[in-house]
């Protein structure tokens, strides 16, 4: 029996049965502040996020990422994300929430640092993986 090489269906590198959209949301925490936010419009289910946090002012500073709907209602919250690296979080998919964060509209992504940033503005990137 001949062995057939497995190939992708197209050249987009998209899973044909369950496409995943990946969106990078840049959030700036202004100088002399501890929080910043940005918005993104989409329709789908957030099943994972990767948070890229630079070195921050303060000792052992962490950040909290919050996903909110258009009315400011918190849909998901992840605290204690370390500075100086990328953190993968798939906590929105759990036994009680197998579909993750279900959403359609304009989402606000808020980043709150545990200490005010007093040297310069800080850029935190949040990658949202949406099915």
């Amino acid at each position: 029996m001949a062995v057939t090489a497995i190939t992708t269906l197209d050249n987009r590198n998209v899973s044909p049965s369950c496409p995943v959209a990946c969106h990078k949301v840049d959030v700036t925490i202004p100088d002399e502040s501890d929080t910043g936010s940005s918005t993104i419009g989409f329709s789908g289910r957030v099943v994972r996020m990767t948070v890229d946090v630079p070195a921050l002012d303060g000792v052992a500073t962490t950040v909290t990422v919050t996903l909110k709907d258009e009315d400011g209602t918190t849909l998901y919250n992840k605290a204690s994300i370390a500075e100086g690296g990328k953190t993968v979080d798939a906590g929105m998919v759990a036994a009680a929430t197998p579909h993750g964060v279900v959403f359609s509209g304009t989402m606000t992504v808020t980043v709150l640092a545990s200490a005010a940033q007093t040297t310069a503005a800080v850029l935190v990137s949040v990658m949202l993986y949406i099915i």
Binding site: A21, S43, L75
Partner: protein, 129 residues
């Protein structure tokens, strides 16, 4: 600023599994303890954000979902706080597809404290696939 990283289209929407959003407004009329509203929905309700006003009397709100025959399609969601916006999950380990509906769906909101003084407006923001 948001930047599209990779996607099979340019709309910021997952191509095959997009989520629909519908707002259903339920009014509990003066002297009543519950009210209902209908909506046409075909799909699986996974999440409802309930925007509940300050109700008369100390109490909470309950939500019932019924089909066109009056049959409950999901267990009642109770103890939803007043004067708050609450994320109510219908997706769960035992019900990964949430509340499955097709047709005209009736949403009933019931105040646990009984009759209300003045009309009470509850907005249900329904997310379904």
């Amino acid at each position: 600023m948001t930047t599209l990283c990779t996607s099979s289209d340019m709309r910021g929407t997952a191509p095959s599994n997009s989520v629909a959003r519908k707002v259903v407004t339920v009014t509990i009329l003066d002297t009543a303890s519950n009210g209902s509203a209908t909506a046409g929905i075909v799909g699986r309700i996974l999440t409802i954000v309930a925007d509940v006003p300050n109700l008369t009397g100390a109490g909470t709100l309950a939500i019932d979902i019924k089909d066109e025959d009056g049959t409950a399609v999901f267990a009642q969601k109770a103890a939803i706080a007043e004067n708050a916006k609450t994320v109510v999950q219908y997706q769960a380990a035992a019900t990964p597809h949430g509340a499955i509906v097709s047709g005209t769906v009736t949403f009933t909101c019931t105040a646990s404290a009984g009759a209300q003084t003045g009309d009470q407006t509850i907005n249900l923001i329904i997310y379904y696939i």
